[in-house]
Symmetry: C3
Subunit: 167 residues, 3 copies
Amino acid sequence: MATKLFRREDHAPLAPPSSMTVFSDLVELRTQERVQFIDLTELVAERVRRSGVGHGLVCVQSKHTTAAVVVNEDEPLLIEVMKRMVERLAPPDAEYGHNELHRRREPAPDERGNGDAHCKALLLGSSQTLAIVDGALQLGRWQRVFLVELDGPRPRTACVIVMGIPR
Amino acid sequence: MATKLFRREDHAPLAPPSSMTVFSDLVELRTQERVQFIDLTELVAERVRRSGVGHGLVCVQSKHTTAAVVVNEDEPLLIEVMKRMVERLAPPDAEYGHNELHRRREPAPDERGNGDAHCKALLLGSSQTLAIVDGALQLGRWQRVFLVELDGPRPRTACVIVMGIPR
Amino acid sequence: MATKLFRREDHAPLAPPSSMTVFSDLVELRTQERVQFIDLTELVAERVRRSGVGHGLVCVQSKHTTAAVVVNEDEPLLIEVMKRMVERLAPPDAEYGHNELHRRREPAPDERGNGDAHCKALLLGSSQTLAIVDGALQLGRWQRVFLVELDGPRPRTACVIVMGIPR
C-alpha cells in the first residue's frame, strides 16, 4: 500500500476547563410509509443552537426497536437505493419466528409481523453521536441525519441530547 | 410524500451550567454459546443510578472485535431471527483468509477460524451511546441493550461509562 | 440457557464533580484505494493524550457519506475478508438509480456512480464513541479504530472530539 499523507489541523483545548451544559429534547413525529427516511438535520441543528453549547457532542437516539438513526445523503434516488438494500438484506417476506404471534408470550396489542424491521434496525443502529465545534453541528457537505422508519406508518419519538461547554 | 406532523416537547437547558461527573465500570461475563445475545439493560441502568448523573450520556462498549453491543428487543423468537440474519450475512462456513492461520504473522494462542465473527461484529457495531434524562436511562418501551457474542463461548468484558451533570 | 457468571469491577465516581475539557481536531488524509481500511488508532490515542482528559469520551466521526468509522482488528487477511463482505452486501455492479446522474437534480462536479459506497457506509456507520479511563483510550487487545474508504481514492476528513474531566 502506498504511503499516506496526513495533514493535521490541530486545535488546542478549545477553552479552559469549564462548567458544562446538558440540553435534551424529544422529537415526536408520525411516519407515512413502511420504510421511510426522515431528514432530522435541521431539527437537530436547531437544538444544538438552542442548547447554547459551544463545544461538545450531540446524540440522536431512536426510542424504538424498528426505527433507526443514520447519517447519509438526502438524495431521492439514493434513498430508494438504500431502501432496496435494507429490503434485500432482511426481506419482509422471509420466515420470521418472531412473526408467529401465537408462539409468543405477550405480543403488544399493535404488534404486526415485523421480524424484518427488527433485523433492519439491528444493521442500521439506534443512535448517532456527532461533534459540535464553535457552536455548530459538525457535518460534512453531504451528511444529513435521518430517522429511518422500518415498520411504519407509526408515531415515533427521537431523543436529542446535547452536552458540552457553553458558548 | 405526505406532510409530516412534528410535535416538539421542548426542554430548556436542564440545569444551569454545572460541574460534571464521570463514572466508569467494567462488566465481565462468560458467554455460553457461539452466537448469544446477553441482555445488559439492568446492569447498565444500575450503573446510571449509581453514577449520580442526572442528565448526560452513557456509552456501553465491547472490548472485543468479535463481540458487539446493540439495542433491540429481548423476545426469544426475535433473538433467533436476528441470529439467523447475522449467520446469513456472514456465514461461518464461507472461505475466510483470516482463518488460514498458517498464512498469518502472529495468530493469538486461542485463535480460531473466526473471520465470520469479525464480519458480524463489523455490521453490528462495537458500542452504543444512550441518553440519560432526569437520572434515568432513556430507552423506549421495547428497547434493551445487549452484548452480542459472535465467537463464543468466551470470557468477555464491556466498559460502561456514564458522563454528565450530577442529580 | 445456562446461568451466567458476572464479576463486576466497580469504580466509584472517578473524581469529585469537576470542570470539563473539550478538545477537537480534524484529521485530513488522502486515501489510495477504492475500498481501504486506514488505521487511525495511534492518531486518536495521541489526541486523547494531548487533550489532557482523564475520564470521558472520544468520538471519531467521518465527515463523508461514503467513508465510515469502525472498530475491528488490524490483520491483513482479515481486512481482505471484511472488504469482500461489504462488496458482497452492496456490490459495485448492481443497479443503483443514484448512479444515473442525468436523473438527479444537482450531482456534485466530482460525482461518480457510487450508490454501492453509500450503502456500505450505511451499514458500517459514520462514527464511533469510545471510553477514556485514567487518561487512556479504552480499547481491547485487538481493537483498532479505522476510517473505511468506500469510494476512493479521495481526500478525506475525520473529526476527533475528546470530552471529559481533566487529568
